[in-house]
Symmetry: C2
Subunit: 604 residues, 2 copies
């Protein structure tokens, strides 16, 4: 099969640094006219998410940098772009380093840099729409400490200079019907309003698109890879909702389903809508809510507390779990066809051609709406770059004797998938690859088969996935698992598996299990399945929880040293492979099914 064009991915190499100097100069002039000593430019927009529409890529407009996280501070004599470890190289390539210093945010935080450079009696501009209350207040305290002032701006000066700024999305909103949502919007509204009543609150301000999507059972296409509708809602304790969204985006059918309790209000009336809450007790989460909302909730009694939607959204209901099982079966069919093609087709392959082919197999499946993120397709040393994103400048052939790491996922209308497999190209692995792969696998199995008491957090389980690596003086520098949405964000809180996670795991939560090992300049290994929390109390003294695996794809047996597996580890692997074969093979052509049977044969 010839490899195909990608629909959901873009592999173009980073832009050149073009007209960054002109933009920086124009912004400095504009700041000077406003009497400002500087301006803070985050990558986030007012929805604080990982993906933003093109018209909100202000950080890229100013600096040229198009990574998914970063923040710039522009002063008249200095400018800095802060990025995390995945982006230091890319940022330096994309921006004009003669004008803007690229700083690893682990080395110096933006607030520390600003404290070093700010002058007393000056004012720093900030767009309060783009910073959470928590972040905004950090900058505010820092300015006060330096004898300076943070000035919230009514309009963003970048928007005024950005003449060809793309329009913001106005695509039709999609229904997320009850046969995949499993619970009506009105029932969800009722249950969240019960939490408002318990807390003595009149309203909940909802600025996170995933929370609106969950609450109202709607989805959209406003940003890539995540079915968000960018909008804002106020849930009132009388079970009505003010949904600030262009009414023309909502079809009549959807309008009927939402009923009169959901009022559609143009986004231009948002400030007015906030002002109308004066005198009311309004709940918001300061970690995710931009400061602008607090500044516009004049006269309201604001209750700052953790987002009450996060937990109910994370605990998937039976319909969502069954949708996830279905999505993972379809995804498993695509993955098995892909892995068969990868190992058997003779044509030359590169990271991009292979990622396109994987997307093509996924697009053959029913009800795929998008990929859930840009595929991480890493050959040899590129596999060791944890968040590697291939482009035409970095594209590498897949060569015999190397490892190929592919981390990818699909957005099906009934569930979100996220899976990583590491595959040997050719036939003969280096013994180190086998030793490392087996340790990663043992960590993965430990986290897949663990049973744990109610109240256990991801921080308590994290070491189980690392201990086999630690034993050999090895480790990996990323979390072991993240929550996953139900046809929503591929990264969804509040729970995760990492040494910092303090949220108890609860039945229905979906979480990834993805230990890895990375040998810089040589290869990367990661084995990732999604799994969800289930009751596991068949015996013993106490109610216990455990995990059920969702992902259906074989794990490369040529990279496993079976002599290093304990009997219960071998049993887990054999049972997993048996399930993969029996569930996926009915949907495969005979040669692929035959191939899969061999991949899934018991290891002894």
């Amino acid at each position: 099969m010839a490899s195909m064009q990608a629909l959901y991915q873009d592999f173009s190499a980073p832009d050149s640094t073009g007209d960054i100097a002109a933009r920086v100069n124009a912004l400095r002039t504009s700041l000077a006219e406003a009497g400002l000593a500087g301006f803070i430019v985050p990558r986030e927009d007012e929805y604080q998410g990982e993906y933003v529409p093109a018209g909100n890529e202000r950080l890229q407009w100013l600096t040229g940098f198009n990574g998914s996280a970063g923040l710039a501070i522009l002063l008249h004599d200095h400018a800095a772009l802060f990025v995390d470890g995945r982006y230091t190289l890319q940022a330096a390539q994309q921006t004009d380093t003669s004008l803007i210093s690229v700083i690893h945010s682990a080395d110096q935080k933006p607030s520390a840099w600003l404290a070093d450079h700010i002058e007393a009696d000056t004012e720093i501009g900030i767009d309060p729409r783009l910073h959470s209350a928590t972040m905004y207040r950090q900058f505010e305290r820092l300015c006060i400490k330096a004898g300076a002032r943070l000035r919230p701006l009514a309009t963003n000066p970048i928007d005024e200079l950005w003449h060809d700024r793309p329009a913001l999305p106005d695509f039709p909103v999609q229904d997320h019907p009850i046969d995949v949502a499993g619970e009506t919007a009105s029932h969800k509204i009722e249950s969240i309003c019960a939490l408002l009543d318990d807390a003595g609150q009149n309203a909940l301000l909802i600025t996170q698109p995933e929370n609106i999507a969950w609450l109202l059972n709607i989805r959209g296409t406003d940003v890539p890879h995540t079915p968000f509708v960018l909008s804002t809602a106020i849930l009132h304790s009388d079970q009505t909702v003010d949904w600030h969204i262009a009414p023309e985006r909502i079809s009549d059918t959807l309008r009927t389903r939402l009923s009169a309790s959901v009022r559609l209000i143009p986004p231009t009336d948002l400030a007015k809508g906030l002002a109308a809450q004066a005198g009311k007790a309004v709940w918001l989460d300061p970690i995710t809510t931009p400061m602008w909302f607090i500044q516009n909730l004049k006269g309201a009694q604001i209750y700052e507390a953790a987002d009450p939607i996060a937990l109910p959204k994370a605990r998937k209901n039976a319909t969502e779990i069954s949708g996830a099982e279905q999505a993972h079966l379809w995804d498993g069919v695509a993955l098995c066809r892909f892995l068969h093609w990868l190992q058997t087709s003779p044509e030359p392959k590169t990271e991009i051609s292979v990622a396109c082919q994987l997307e093509a197999f996924r697009r053959d499946q029913p009800r795929l709406r998008d990929l859930s993120f840009d595929t991480i397709s890493g050959s040899g040393p590129n596999g060791a770059i944890v968040h590697y994103r291939v482009n035409q400048a970095t594209d590498r052939p897949l060569e015999d004797g190397t490892l190929y790491l592919v981390d990818s996922g699909g957005q099906y209308d009934c569930g979100t998938t996220d899976v990583t497999r590491t595959v040997l190209m050719g036939t003969t692995p280096h013994p180190d690859m086998v030793g490392h792969f087996t340790r990663v696998l043992r960590g993965h199995i430990a986290l897949a088969k663990v049973t744990f008491p109610i109240g256990t957090t991801g921080a308590q389980l994290d070491a189980l996935a690392r201990a086999p690596l630690w034993e050999a003086g090895l480790d990996f520098d990323h979390g072991t698992g993240h929550g996953v949405g139900s046809y929503l964000s591929v990264h969804e809180g509040p729970h995760r598996i990492s040494k910092e996670s303090d949220v108890p795991l609860q039945p229905g939560m979906i979480v990834s299990n993805e230990p890895g090992y990375y040998r810089a300049g040589a290869y990367g290994i990661r084995i990732e399945n999604l799994q969800y929390v289930v009751d596991a109390s068949p015996k013993g003294d106490r109610p216990m929880l455990g995990f059920q695996t969702l992902t259906r794809a074989p794990i490369d047996r040529r990279l496993i040293d079976a002599t290093l597996l304990a009997p219960d580890e071998r049993d887990w692997l054999n049972q997993y492979h048996d399930e993969v074969y029996h569930m996926v093979s009915p949907y495969l052509d005979e040669p692929v099914a035959h191939w899969l049977k061999a991949q899934c044969a018991p290891i002894t």
Copy 2:
């Protein structure tokens, strides 16, 4: 060998409730005369430790309750005694429940109870010597919230009513010489002063006896089981110390060793000494320092931060580690002789007779100064009571077919030991005992042999010791490990192995490894060794840490199902037993050595 009298332990049954009514009435009268609505009586004295001298047992004087933790609040119409789960039964037996309600502090905290019962415009008395600043402020906030006031009292009304109050200890202070301390007091003073300099502080207030003992290389006999000298010190950044202690307690030799930089000042001058810090920057830890000190540091600039001595004290130096090895070898000889006697001597045994016999074997060892705590000696169902302390009323015979759990330790002048063994009485265990014991053992081994990166906390490792129990729906309700001092407290921070511990483990830290399983009404199982953190970086990419076991005593092989052990678990056990045999047997008589050889033979 006949069982012997205990020197270091007292097995008398709890007192009757005697004259509690008279004392409660007298205290109420005294409070009324002072215009107070109530008084708070903690078990702690001004040193905030687990053991207090008889003259500071104020909680017992008032309520009759003599457990190691508790707090009473006496109001005119109500009185309550708050204890934790280990003491609810004992407290109800010992106090007069017609006058004083016994409350499980997990059900209602003292502060919540007081908030329910306090009346506006009244004053509650408190002795600020006996409450840490942190605790004091909690009570203060609660009183303010209720419109009432907390009144710190210059003298404790109990002391005025307690006519036969025992004198406070004035035993001679003992030198802790350099061959066991491994570092001179002047060097320790220098290193702590460097921390004071870094923090810009002029002085450190030291109220914890273990910190004074460590800093000055002294020990004492002021309280049972822990070699404390009850005193207070102020360390100045010029490397001098004001040590508030009766000068006659210090011998001339010790005075010479301490040199002129340590000024001996009578405790009666303590308030004056604190007042003399006016204008200086003084570091203290509010979690361990009683409020009285803050109230008396008038005019000083107080810096409240974590105790800077805790970490250096916890990181044992090479001499202290070698002392711990020596102490554990002596203790191992006593334990092996004891376990041999327990299993082979025909005489009838009870929990008390056996605890006395174990103490006698320990007293045969060189340089034993005390037990490190009251032996937990639990036969059958008493073994399932986690903090069981036997007395003449609860003493149980050791019967064939039951499990006997013994948790004990010694204070040797070069190290502190703490060990638990669970032993089958007779020859035939119930299969459940073997299954549970093997799971506890597997958890113990996982925590003994784990390798982990620098920066790892006890919270990250805790689940390793629990996973084999979790797998069967089982768990235990106590921490997995606590820090241990060097001829000091058997419970010593700041590190521990529990789901809450956020202190990274560092080389030289000694910690217990003590998973357990408790079947209420039937038996208790616990396997506890001490181990210390060592460098473990023989290979791999990163510097790693691991543990070295200190405790030398066989683990009852009759309770192990070897078929449930993984090969690496079996290897660990066989190597451990091999070391126990080869290190301990040279000090044993032939029959005991012969017996030990069989206990330590490899399991296949």
